[in-house]
C-alpha cells in the first residue's frame, strides 16, 4: 500500500441486472476509484488477490448477502481477517438478510453500512462518498488529491487538524 496505489471499489452481486444498476450508479466515482465486479465470493477473492498483487488496494466492498456458494456476510468476515482488506470499508447491499445475519455482519465483519434494496442513487452515492472518505482519512497522508471527489469539508478539516500541509 503506497500513496500512489489505486483504490478500488469492489461490487459483489450475483444478479447481472442489479450489478449493472449498481455500477451505473457508481459512475461518478469511477475515474478516481476504479470499479471491479464479482458475481460470487470466490470470484471476489480472486479479484482481491489480483488487485493487491498489482500493488493496489480495495477501499470499499459493496456486497450482496445472498450469493451462490459462500454468502456475503461470510465473505466480509473473511475480508476483516486478511491483512490486505482489513481496512476496506464494508457495506452490505441487500434485500434479504435476516436479523441474525445482519447482527453477525455488524459484530464479526465490522460492517460499516447497511443499504437496503431497492436503493436510491443519491443515498448510495452519499454512503460511498462517506465510506471512501473514511478510508482515505485512515490510509492516506496526501488528502488534497481526493478533495474533488470526496467529502471536502471533512478532508479540509483533517488537513487543518493534522497540519499536513505547511506554508512554503
Amino acid at each position: 500500500m503506497t500513496e500512489s496505489s489505486n483504490i478500488y471499489i469492489l461490487v459483489i452481486e450475483d444478479e447481472p441486472d442489479v450489478l449493472d444498476a449498481l455500477v451505473r450508479d457508481l459512475e461518478s466515482f469511477e475515474d478516481m476509484f476504479p470499479v471491479e465486479m464479482a458475481e460470487d465470493a470466490e470470484e471476489a477473492e480472486q479479484l482481491i488477490e489480483s488487485i493487491c498483487e498489482d500493488g493496489h488496494e480495495v477501499g470499499l466492498a459493496l456486497c450482496d448477502h445472498v450469493l451462490p456458494g459462500k454468502n456475503g456476510v461470510d465473505l466480509l468476515i473473511e475480508m476483516t481477517k486478511w491483512e490486505n482488506t482489513k481496512q476496506t470499508r464494508k457495506v452490505l447491499v441487500t434485500g434479504q438478510a435476516g436479523l441474525e445475519d445482519t447482527v453477525k455482519a455488524v459484530n464479526e465483519a465490522g460492517l460499516h453500512h447497511y443499504i437496503a434494496k431497492p436503493w436510491d442513487k443519491e443515498q448510495l452515492e452519499a454512503v460511498v462518498k462517506k465510506q471512501l472518505t473514511e478510508y482515505v482519512l485512515r490510509t492516506r497522508k496526501d488528502l488534497l488529491s481526493f478533495m474533488s471527489k470526496l467529502d471536502q469539508e471533512r478532508l479540509a478539516d483533517a488537513i487543518h487538524d493534522r497540519g499536513s500541509i505547511s506554508d512554503s
Binding site: 474533488s148 471536502q152 479540509a156 493534522r162 505547511s166 506554508d167
Partner: protein
C-alpha cells in the same frame, strides 16, 4: 524513492551548477566567492525543481557552507594568513613585501579582531630584487600587521565560524516563528481559530458581497498570526457548506473559493510571523544590524495589506458577481472551556499584545516568542505529541535561506552578481520595480520562502552598493518580501492556492485571471508605498 523526469533533470542540473564554478576561473570572484556560487547554484536548482524536498535542500546548504566556507571546514580550517610587519623608511613611508600589494594598490591590514580590511596606499618605489615596495600610508605603524601574500585565500575573506551557519537553526527569527507555530498549534488543537471565525463573521450579515468581505478579513487576520495554509484549510470547511447552498453555475462559488486563499496569501504580509518569507527579510536585515520591531513591521505592512485585500475583494466581485441575494452562514462550534483552553486564550492574548506593543516596552519580539513556547509547554497545553507535530521543516527551510544569505554577503558573491547584472547603476524607482517584478514572477513558480532566500541578499547588496539614502535598503528588501507573498496566479504558487484548486470549484484559468490582476496591481501599489509611504516612516 522514485524521481520523475523533471526531478532527475533538476538533480543533474544542480550537480553541474555545483561543479562548474569550481572548475572555471571566474573573473572578479575569489575562491570563497566561487564556492558560495557553487552552493547558490545548486540550491537554486534544487529549490526550483525539487528533486529533494525544499527543506532538505536548506539543510544541505547549511552543511555545505560549514564544510566549504567555515573556519572549521575542509578548506579554511587550520589555515593561517601569513603576515608581515612594515619596516619604517621615513615618516609615513614603509617597506612592505611586494606580494602584500594588490594589483590596484591596496594592502590588507589585519585588525585586532582578526578580520582584514583593504586600504589604499601610494607606491613610492619598488625594489624588485628584494621583493619589497615602499609605500606611503598614514594608517600604518610599526606594530601593524599586513597580509604578506594577497593571493592567499584568507587575504580577502574572513570565514565565518561554523556556528554562524549552524546557529541559523536557532536564529532569533526562527525562534520568533517557533513562538508563532506554538500558538497556532495550540489554537488548532483547541479550535480557537474556528471559534474566532464564528464570532468575527457574525457582523457581516447575509449579502454575498459582505460575506466575502467578512471571510477575507477574518482569513487575513488569522493568517497574519497562523500559517496561511492552516488558515485556508480551516476556512475551506467554513465555505464548503455555504457553496453547497448556492446554485450550480453561480459565479459567486468561484469568488468564494478564491477569496480564501487570496486573503490568506495577502494576510501573511501583515506581521513578521505571518509567512516564512518575512523571516528571510528580517534575518537579512538583522545581519546588517537593522532590527525591525513587530509593531513597526505592522505599521509598515498593515496599510498595504488592507489595500490589497480591498483590491482582491473588488477583483473577485467584478469577475465573479453573485447571482444570489443572501447566503446563510452557520458555523457549528463552541469555545472550549477547559482550564487548558483558558490558559491558551490568556497566553495567546498576552503574546500578541506584547508583540504589537514591542516599541513601548522594548522587549524584542523574538524574546517575547519564548513566552508561548515556555507557557504552553509547562502548562502542558501543548503535549509532547503536539510539539512533534509543529512544522519543524518550515523552520529548517527558513534557516537554510538565512544561512545562504550569510555567505552571499560575506564572500562577495552578492556584490559580484549585482555587478554582472548592472543593478548598481539603476535609479531607486527602477530598482524597486525590477525587484518587485522578480519577486512576484519567481514566487509564482517556486516557494515564496525560496524566492526570498535567493533574491533578498541581492536586494540588500544592491541597496548597499548603490549610492542611495539609508532607508532604501529596508524598503528594497521589504519590496521583495511583499511581492513574494503577492504571487497567487497558479495552483502551484502557494499551498493555499493548491487547496482551493483541489476542490475543483475553480479552474486554473479563473485563478490565473484574478491572480494576475491582483499581482500586477499589487506590485504597482507596493511601488507606490516604497516611494511615498515607507520613506516617511524612517
Amino acid at each position: 524513492m522514485t524521481l520523475n523526469k523533471v526531478q532527475i533533470t533538476g538533480l543533474v542540473a544542480g550537480g553541474i551548477g555545483f561543479v562548474v564554478p569550481l572548475l572555471i576561473n571566474i573573473p572578479g570572484l575569489a575562491l570563497a566567492g566561487s564556492l558560495a556560487l557553487s552552493i547558490f547554484l545548486m540550491a537554486a536548482v534544487f529549490w526550483m525543481f525539487e528533486p529533494i524536498p525544499i527543506y532538505a535542500t536548506s539543510l544541505l546548504v547549511i552543511l555545505l557552507q560549514i564544510l566549504l566556507l567555515s573556519g572549521q571546514g575542509l578548506i579554511y580550517s587550520g589555515k593561517k594568513l601569513p603576515t608581515a610587519t612594515p619596516e619604517s623608511v621615513e615618516s609615513q613611508q614603509w617597506n612592505v613585501p611586494s606580494r602584500a600589494l594588490t594589483a590596484d594598490g591596496k594592502l590588507y591590514l589585519l585588525r585586532d579582531d582578526g578580520e582584514t580590511v583593504a586600504r589604499e596606499v601610494e607606491v613610492i618605489a619598488r625594489d624588485e630584487e628584494a621583493g619589497m615596495v615602499t609605500v606611503e600610508a598614514p594608517f600604518l605603524y610599526s606594530e601593524s600587521r599586513v597580509a604578506a601574500d594577497v593571493t592567499h585565500p584568507l587575504a580577502e575573506f574572513n570565514p565565518n565560524p561554523y556556528s554562524d551557519f549552524m546557529g541559523t537553526l536557532a536564529d532569533p527569527i526562527i525562534i520568533l516563528f517557533l513562538g508563532g507555530f506554538s500558538l497556532a498549534g495550540a489554537a488548532v488543537k483547541y479550535k480557537l481559530d474556528r471559534n474566532l471565525t464564528r464570532i468575527l463573521l457574525a457582523p457581516f450579515g447575509k449579502r454575498p458581497g459582505f460575506i466575502i468581505m467578512g471571510l477575507m478579513s477574518v482569513t487575513a487576520l488569522l493568517s497574519a498570526f497562523m500559517s496561511n495554509t492552516a488558515t485556508t484549510a480551516m476556512m475551506m470547511t467554513v465555505i464548503i457548506p455555504i457553496i453547497a447552498q448556492t446554485q450550480k453555475g453561480d459565479p459567486v462559488r468561484i469568488g468564494l473559493a478564491l477569496s480564501i486563499p487570496f486573503a490568506a496569501n495577502i494576510g501573511g504580509i501583515a506581521t513578521p510571523i505571518g509567512t516564512p518569507p518575512n523571516a528571510i527579510v528580517l534575518a537579512n536585515l538583522a545581519q546588517q544590524g537593522i532590527s525591525i520591531s513587530f509593531g513597526y513591521w505592522m505599521v509598515l505592512a498593515l496599510p498595504l495589506v488592507l489595500i490589497m485585500l480591498l483590491v482582491a475583494w473588488a477583483v473577485l466581485n467584478w469577475f465573479f458577481p453573485a447571482n444570489t441575494e443572501s447566503i446563510e452562514l452557520e458555523i457549528k462550534e463552541h469555545f472550549r472551556t477547559s482550564s487548558k483552553a483558558y490558559i491558551l486564550y490568556g497566553i495567546f492574548l498576552l503574546t500578541v499584545l506584547l508583540w504589537i506593543t514591542s516599541s513601548l516596552h522594548g522587549i524584542s519580539s523574538t524574546i517575547v516568542a519564548l513566552i508561548p513556547v515556555v507557557g504552553l509547554t509547562l502548562t502542558q497545553v501543548l503535549e509532547k505529541e503536539d510539539i512533534r507535530e509543529l512544522p519543524w521543516e518550515v523552520l529548517w527551510l527558513m534557516a537554510g535561506g538565512i544561512s545562504l544569505g550569510i555567505s552571499m554577503e560575506n564572500t562577495g558573491l552578492a556584490s559580484w552578481m549585482i555587478q554582472q547584472i548592472g543593478w548598481g547603476a539603476m535609479s531607486v524607482t527602477v530598482l524597486f520595480l525590477i525587484f518587485g517584478i522578480v519577486g512576484l514572477v519567481l514566487s509564482n513558480f517556486i516557494s515564496n520562502t525560496v524566492t526570498a532566500s535567493l533574491v533578498v541578499p541581492l536586494a540588500m547588496t544592491t541597496a548597499m552598493s548603490s549610492a542611495t539614502s539609508g532607508f532604501s535598503m529596508i524598503v528594497l528588501v521589504l519590496v521583495v518580501g511583499v511581492s513574494a507573498s503577492l504571487a497567487m496566479v497558479l495552483p502551484i504558487s502557494t499551498p493555499p492556492n493548491a487547496i482551493a484548486m483541489s476542490t475543483e470549484m475553480v479552474t486554473t484559468r479563473q485563478m490565473a485571471k484574478a491572480g494576475t490582476v491582483i499581482g500586477i496591481v499589487g506590485v504597482v501599489v507596493t511601488l507606490g508605498y516604497a516611494l511615498f509611504y515607507w520613506p516617511i516612516l524612517f
